[in-house]
């Protein structure tokens, strides 16, 4: 189910909300949020609810195991077995066909017969809830959290609909306090803030990202025919589309969290205002960056070792981060590209930091756009063609709708580079501003009803 759909807005959300606040006890609210999470997830394909249930049960049992067994060997087993089970699911559903495709490419070079692809349907959001359960198990192993004894509390955490299919990746410790105090939550306290986040997020997704997408998707479907100006316009459009799409979803998730008394953490902090690669990754998809830092980069040694070890750790982290986004070599290259940027900044940051701030911001923005070429392209060939067109002067016409695109780019650019993000706002609206936000909600409804709705880009990850 999409947040930007009539069934969500007019059926799922009101029913979930009213029943949630009618129920009083902790258990009943956990059970209700679990049920609604499964309905939300199963609306797309009910079969895959079993996968989420399996992942939930395995991780919950591991948590109970940590409470019961204190021996080193047992705890290691409780750490490894469920993580292997979770990763095996992820590997099978997300990476099996990618592995076969890669093997076939290598096999073609050495004369081996190709293997038939398995054509496995990727369960939506598997990368997100798998990370939720893995971080829970690791935190329980490290003693950072006290695992819950209550199955419904844990299942409510895993299947919480607001963050289920496209994040943010919320760690159990970040929600534990709200989950434990779910029966004491104050319905009215954050309701206005919640709606404010939700409407801003909806407008970012439906009005900005989807409008840009409707203009740039047709020309980007045939990258070979683009001129240099079109290629830059389209990639600039994609840069903003991706941000407003994902940040929009995250803001809607935060808003929905507030409506149910939960505090979903910030996922985007105006990333296109970043001055350098490190700054960018502190601002873009913050919840993923933190997970990669705490559960991969630091365990690998972080920046404590020699210079080369740090570069190695950075590269491994970013390569795996790239692969997490999608089972394709273009994502690996995108990860490698950012790994190299981070390494270069680590080595030459003192030079970069001496540049005027505006130049740093502009330079970083251009570097990010170049990276998105690999993120957007379906194949290497498309990526190299697009990059070639962007940097070799290729004459040609601008894409259809470029006037509207430029207006949207100016608007999106002003919001992304100059305006405060929703976490920097006070969310107290004077009448005129409140009416303007309600107007944005109304416009979003018009678009949801009338235009071709696109799913959130991060659903595919």
């Amino acid at each position: 189910m999409l947040f930007n759909s009539a069934v969500f807005l007019f059926a799922f959300l009101p029913i979930t909300y009213l029943v949630f606040w009618t129920l009083r006890g902790k258990n009943s609210r956990w059970v209700w949020l679990t049920i609604t999470g499964y309905v939300f997830y199963g609306y797309w394909n009910p079969k895959f609810c079993l996968l989420m249930l399996f992942s939930t049960v395995v991780s919950y049992l591991a948590g109970r195991g940590f409470l019961r067994w204190k021996g080193r060997r047992e705890r290691r087993a409780l750490l490894v077995v469920p993580i292997v089970a979770d990763l095996a699911l992820l590997a099978w559903f997300k990476y099996a066909d990618f592995a076969i495709e890669s093997w076939n490419w290598v096999g073609g070079l050495i004369g081996r017969p190709p293997l038939a692809p398995l054509d496995i349907l990727l369960p939506i959001g598997i990368s997100f809830y798998t990370f939720h359960t893995i971080t829970y198990i690791v935190d329980a192993y490290r003693g950072t959290i006290q695992p819950t004894r209550n199955f419904w509390e844990f299942s409510c955490y895993v299947s919480l609909f607001s963050q289920l299919v496209a994040g943010p990746i919320v760690r159990f410790r970040e929600l534990q306090e709200d989950l434990e105090g779910i029966d004491r939550a104050d319905r009215g306290r954050y309701l206005d803030v919640g709606w404010s986040f939700f409407i801003i997020g909806m407008a970012q997704k439906v009005l900005v990202a989807d409008t840009i997408a409707s203009i740039i998707d047709p020309p980007l479907a045939d990258v070979a025919s683009l001129s240099t100006a079109s290629a830059w316009l389209c990639m600039l459009g994609y840069t903003y589309q991706l941000y407003f799409d994902f940040a929009g979803y995250s803001n809607m998730a935060v808003g929905l969290g507030f409506m149910f008394g939960m505090h979903i953490p910030q996922n985007f902090n105006s990333p296109y205002k970043a001055l350098n690669p490190s700054d960018f990754w502190r601002r873009w998809h913050i919840s993923l960056s933190r997970v990669l830092r705490d559960y991969l980069y630091i365990p690998l040694g972080g920046s404590k070792g020699s210079g080369w070890l740090t570069y190695r750790n950075l590269m491994i982290t970013m390569l795996l981060g790239g692969l997490w986004h999608g089972a394709a070599w273009t994502f690996v290259v995108w990860g490698a590209y950012h790994g190299i940027l981070l390494s270069l900044y680590r080595r030459f940051g003192h030079v970069w930091d001496r540049l005027p701030k505006m130049l740093q911001q502009a330079g970083m923005f251009v570097l990010v756009i170049i990276g998105w070429v690999f993120f957007r392209a379906l194949t290497f060939q498309d990526a190299t063609t697009l990059l070639g067109t962007m940097f070799a002067l290729q004459p040609g016409l601008l894409p259809v709708g470029s006037a509207a695109l430029m207006v949207m780019l100016l608007l999106a650019g002003a919001i992304a580079h100059l305006a405060p993000n929703p976490f920097e706002l006070k969310h107290q609206w004077k009448p005129a501003a409140a009416v303007a936000l309600a107007g944005l909600l109304l416009l979003s409804l018009v678009r949801i009803y009338g235009a071709v709705n696109s799913p959130f880009l991060y659903f595919q990850f």
């Binding site: 206005d192 803030v193 047709p218 936000l437 309600a438």
Partner: protein, 396 residues
Amino acid sequence: MTEFVWDGLRHKASTLDRARHWRLSRLAVAVLAGWLVVDVGLRFLPVERLGVSAIMAAQRFTGRHSPFRANLSIVVPAGSPGENAVRANLPPTELRPPLRFSTDSLGYRRNPEMPRGAVPDVLFIGGDSFIYGANLSDEETLPAAFTRASGLLAYNGGRSHLTPMMLSDLDWLLGHLPGAPTKAVLVHLEQHRRRPKDRLGQRSDLEQDLRYVRWIVRGWWDASPLSNATRRLFRRLSNDKLLTNVYEQQVVAYHLPDGHSMLFRDSETYPARIPQTPRQILATSEYIEAWTRELSARGIETHVLLLPTRFTLYGPWLVQEEEERAEVLRAVQDFYRLDAELNQRGIRTINGLDIFRRTAVEDLGSRELPFYREDNHWSPVGVNRIARVLADSLRR
């Protein structure tokens, strides 16, 4: 003054200064509720007068076994465009004269050539919109044209593809007609592939109840004047000037000798794009055979009309690329393989591809094509041609 602070994990907010700030939550709920009230409220009005198509309007509040609302009469004013032109958001070049869409007391499309209360000689079933007659007026539908051509009274048992006929629907219909027909024309559309597990309708009462409830809800929900109006708005804006026409990719256009384009949708090119497996052909012929058996058990002799898509029919003359041509020709072969398989089973077939193919080249060059250019359905010319062949066949 309210304070809203983000400290990494927690928000802290105190109460709003009500005198200066508005409760956004109330405003947002009011917007959503207002929208819902308008949306739902409009659905209770005569939606066909508010821009909803006649078919969608007719599919609301149907009886349990009926495809359409009973005793309905909708007049569609002149100028309605073809479905594929609408789908692709292209300016239509082929507009319809005024059409009448009316139904009888059983909720099936009326054949104006058949007197009320008369016992039908022939029952037309299957064939979805080709049989009930999308984009055709009552008197232009196949059963009506057949009655004129043969003198036999034909009952239009055509249903939407969303509510295909089940055995229980057939029995209900036969039980409610003034008398049972002795012959049936079962129409099979080329793009419909059956699977071995496809059933004719041996369903439990509960399954049938659920199916009916789902259909009622869906039929009602889909016919939304508000949704229709907003869609029109976005289609207007997507004019390749202000916004890109993203709808255009939903059809493929091929040029005709007179310079006009023929627009095809996915379901029409599907048989050419995806070849049929021998198993599918077998399953489809078993499905058709099962229907003929069931009809025979009810004392009805069945004639099967196989109908190709426009793409399988005209594709060999329209496509330019060799690879694409090979795909269409393979679809043609698949079509004949199904026909041969049915004949082997002793089922009498009328091959629609043969009927139209003989004159395809002249038709493509003429102004009066048997099929619309901007719609996947047949025109009155095509209907009359098929009706004459069927009349000859059934007389024999």
